[in-house]
């Protein structure tokens, strides 16, 4: 009973905090409203007795929002990130898409005939989930991991205005590299 109440309170908190992302007028508040939303979801996952996944969700999301604060300054420049600003853009289309997606998902949830439970959950649900994800689908997971890493690196490379020729000279032979910000091990 208590678990049910906690679950629903967390669910409402997660949705409200998620909505707050668009109500507030500062990027810092939007970022951390999203973090609060994810923390509520993480605690819900804890209630589902997926301890590892719940705690890791909280860990990753808080860190992610902090990193977002770094990117905020790195890529947006100081002013737009630090001044009060609207968190919504292109309201008309966004509203139409949001309502459409919500109706489709809600209709799906309500109209689909849910199957009755067959069998019981495993003793160690985290291990079972890991087996399910990583066992037969290990190749997909490994490939997705590499693709994600490559995407991040490529995104930063495309966004950075200095290339390797700026760092190492036209023949790529200048050592140490000519960086505006020297590193700690003197490369």
């Amino acid at each position: 009973m208590l678990t049910h109440i906690a679950f629903w309170v967390l669910a409402v908190a997660a949705v409200l905090a998620g909505a707050a992302v668009f109500w507030v007028n500062s990027m810092a508040r939007a970022s951390y409203a999203l973090a609060v939303s994810f923390i509520a979801v993480g605690v819900q996952v804890l209630l589902l007795q997926q301890n590892y996944i719940g705690v890791v969700t909280i860990l990753m999301m808080v860190m992610e929002m902090a990193v977002m604060a770094v990117y905020m300054v790195m890529f947006m420049g100081m002013n737009p990130a630090l001044m009060p600003m609207s968190m919504v853009h292109d309201k008309r289309h966004a509203r139409a898409v949001a309502i459409g997606v919500f109706v489709a998902l809600a209709a799906g949830a309500l109209l689909v005939p849910w199957p009755a439970r067959r069998g019981a959950p495993a003793d160690d649900v985290t291990a079972a989930l890991g087996e399910e994800l990583m066992g037969p689908k290990m190749l997909v997971m490994a490939a997705v991991g590499v693709v994600m890493a490559v995407t991040i690196v490529a995104g930063v490379v495309l966004a950075a205005h200095r290339s390797r020729y700026d760092r190492f000279g036209d023949d790529l032979r200048r050592r140490p590299a000519n960086d505006p910000q020297p590193g700690g091990v003197g490369r």
């Binding site: 500062s26 810092a28 508040r29 951390y32 973090a35 301890n51 590892y52 705690v55 890791v56 909280i58 860990l59 808080v62 860190m63 929002m65 902090a66 990193v67 604060a69 770094v70 300054v73 630090l82 910000q181 020297p182 590193g183 700690g184 091990v185 490369r187």
Partner: protein
């Protein structure tokens, strides 16, 4: 390796745990006061430095800044203390623990990451350039220390093949982990000092930026933030005991006393190091963290994993 050796105590004991953490934090503040007084060459011992500081801050009027983001500012300032309390819920005092979480090691990690949010939010909330610069200095440090800290925690967990803090402590019956995974221990200590914005990682509070994150903090807000730093330092020291220093193992004294003695010893070293180590510049440390520290910790993890597989 018996998990049943750990007893989960009732929630009422949380106040005792919080009190112990408070005592450790006060002791750390007193030691720092003594060291500060000695460094200044004053005649008095300096034990009362924190008392005077607390009295001063409690009477101080709150400073306000224009267009401060008060909500986030207050959350950030009070957060470190909350973070320290959350950390010690999974640290066993020999046989007793508040929460016997099966993923306690990850729990510590999730809580230490909160420092990123709280310190940056404190820097952000004041709407002051200096404190915001301080907040970003901390994040820059964070990018350097966090991954080595995470992988340092992997080593004891792999060796004990458990993420339960009590089980990790119990796995060190014959040999403390600090002996055969020293690199992980050092990386952990670096991270524990860093989440308290302490010692080498204090440029976020640097005098060159008028106190950085704390530039605009005053009165109770400053008391909470500064006290929170000591509490996080104490919690970091306490977590090192079951992870690397054998938990309650030791001769003569009972286990709980050994846990406290070891915690106090680690905490004392942390406080003492503040005046012994130079501040690390955030921009330089970032590369050091990724090019030196992270590979070193990964090699440590590999060695531990090979030994664990070989002996298991």
């Amino acid at each position: 390796m018996s998990d049943s050796a750990i007893t989960t105590v009732s929630a009422g004991w949380a106040t005792v745990a919080a009190g112990l953490l408070g005592l450790l934090a006060i002791a750390a503040a007193m030691l720092d006061g003594v060291l500060r007084t000695r460094a200044a060459g004053a005649r008095s011992l300096g034990l009362s430095v924190p008392v005077g500081e607390v009295a001063r801050l409690l009477r101080q009027r709150r400073r306000t800044t224009v267009a401060a983001d008060r909500l986030l500012w207050r959350i950030g300032g009070a957060g470190l203390l909350v973070m320290a309390l959350m950390i010690i819920t999974v640290v066993p005092l020999d046989r007793w623990t508040l929460v016997d979480l099966d993923v306690g090691v990850v729990w510590f990690n999730a809580m230490d990451v909160l420092a990123w949010a709280f310190v940056w939010l404190t820097g952000w909330g004041a709407n002051s350039a200096h404190s915001l610069v301080g907040g970003y200095r901390f994040l820059a440090h964070g990018l350097g220390y966090e991954l080595p800290l995470m992988f340092a925690l992997v080593a004891p967990a792999v060796a004990a093949s458990s993420l339960n803090v009590g089980a990790v402590a119990a796995a060190q019956d014959d040999l403390w982990f600090v002996v055969w995974m020293p690199v992980a221990f050092l990386a952990y200590c670096l991270g524990a000092v860093a989440i308290a914005v302490w010692g080498p990682f204090s440029p976020a509070l640097g005098a060159d930026i008028a106190g950085g994150v704390t530039a605009e903090l005053s009165g109770v807000d400053r008391l909470l933030f500064v006290g929170g730093r000591y509490a996080v330092l104490a919690a970091g020291a306490a977590f090192a005991v079951p992870m690397f220093l054998g938990g309650g193992a030791g001769p003569l004294l009972p286990g709980w006393a050994w846990v406290l003695v070891k915690t106090a010893a680690v905490l004392g070293v942390f406080v003492w190091l503040r005046r012994r180590l130079p501040a690390v510049r955030p921009d330089l440390f970032m590369e050091f963290g990724w090019v030196v520290l992270l590979p070193a910790v990964l090699v440590q993890d590999l060695i531990v994993a090979v030994i664990a597989v070989g002996s298991g």
